[in-house]
């Protein structure tokens, strides 16, 4: 609801080349199953929401 305050706290990706090193740590995984698992765990740990960018990259957003 508080628009535009989201912060990307982590990135989980199948394809490392699609993400440049930025503010958030990048986790490269080797399959969709692992990606789902890692993203779920990170989401819980960081109290953040997992979003699928649709190109194999998941970002974890904290509001």
């Amino acid at each position: 609801m508080r628009g535009g305050e989201g912060l990307v706290v982590a990135v989980v990706t199948l394809a490392g080349e699609k993400v440049l090193a930025g503010g958030a740590p990048v986790f490269v995984v080797s399959g969709s199953e692992e990606r789902e698992k890692v993203a779920t765990t990170l989401g819980r740990v960081l109290d953040s929401q997992v979003h699928d960018l649709g190109n194999g990259v998941y970002v974890l957003v904290k509001r």
């Binding site: 819980r44 109290d47 929401q49 699928d52």
Partner: protein, 300 residues
């Protein structure tokens, strides 16, 4: 005495309707009642003090009145601090609204007491020569009751169901995007979370009756209030580490309709619709573009 009694009564009668916006049962009640009595006392003695030329007393009363103004600030601070602990935030708009209402209620308390005591006082003077001064208490009582009823009526907040039609909407996904009917809510990345939304989620569509209501629904604070109250009443299957299950109210930009997706503890749609319908229209969101000329011209 009559003034004091009716002022306190006024505050008490308004306390009953408060529990949902501010669930602070025994102690919150006590402190508000205490403040209400102070306000009532202030209202009750102000006129006699002036007439009897007790100006010191009158000055003191002004001081008390000033204190009352701080009520709003106090309420706001408390609620602001509590936001941290809420799974679904009230939002700044709603907090401000609740604080405003509490302040106004204390003033009403004062007015009720003032009206009751004024009438009693005047009546007493009038009836004393006739030997029946106690009858003036009845006059005071009538004035007190009148102010309470009138005040409650004018200060009563409009529930949402009066400005919009509220009906069920279907939770559905287009790819990873969560929709209620055809209104986009949010992106849900994890397949498991999408399953959960599809299985347990409920959708509500809120259709504004006119352009005034449309402006109200567009207010972010108003929509957060809807999400908060729905979650408070229906319960919510969410914790801090699962923000994707936060109830969200989003707008359909083309029609002005709003839609909410929520995972209540009990997936019953009827009480959820009732809960949404009883959310008050918050004052900060109550704009009336239709009352202006350009607004009316833009509406057709």
């Amino acid at each position: 005495m009559t003034g004091l009694f009716f002022g306190a009564l006024a505050r008490l009668s308004m306390l009953r309707t408060d529990y949902r916006q501010y669930p602070s049962y025994p102690h919150g009640y006590a402190s508000h009642l205490g403040l209400g009595v102070v306000a009532a006392f202030t209202g009750a003695v102000v006129l006699p003090a002036l007439i009897l030329r007790e100006l010191t007393a009158a000055t003191f009363l002004l001081l008390v009145a000033q204190q009352l103004r701080e009520v709003r600030d106090l309420e706001r601070k408390t609620l602001d601090r509590m936001e941290e602990t809420e799974l679904v935030k009230r939002g700044a708009g709603y907090v401000e609204d609740i604080a405003k209402v509490f302040e106004a209620r204390n003033y009403l308390t004062m007015f009720a007491a003032l009206a009751a005591s004024t009438l009693t006082f005047l009546g007493w003077r009038l009836l004393e020569p006739m030997g029946v001064p106690l009858f003036s208490v009845l006059g005071g009582a009538a004035a007190g009751v009148a102010v309470i009823t009138l005040g409650r009526k004018t200060l009563d907040r409009q529930p949402l169901r009066q400005v919009a039609r509220i009906r069920e909407g279907k939770i559905n996904f287009r790819g990873t995007m969560l929709y209620v009917d055809d209104i986009h809510i949010q992106e849900v990345g994890l397949a498991k979370s999408r399953d959960r939304w599809a299985k347990l989620g409920l959708g509500v569509v809120i259709e504004p009756n006119d352009d005034n209501a449309r402006a109200t629904l567009a207010n972010v604070g108003q929509r957060q209030a809807i999400a908060h109250d729905s979650a408070a009443i229906m319960g919510i299957r969410k914790d801090r580490d699962t923000p994707e299950f936060t109830p969200l109210v989003r707008l359909d930009l083309d029609t002005g309709r709003a839609a909410m997706a929520i995972i209540p503890v009990e997936p019953d749609i009827a009480p959820l619709l009732a809960a949404v319908g009883s959310v008050p229209v918050i004052e900060g969101a109550r704009t009336r573009p239709l009352a202006t000329k350009p607004g009316r011209r833009a509406a057709d």
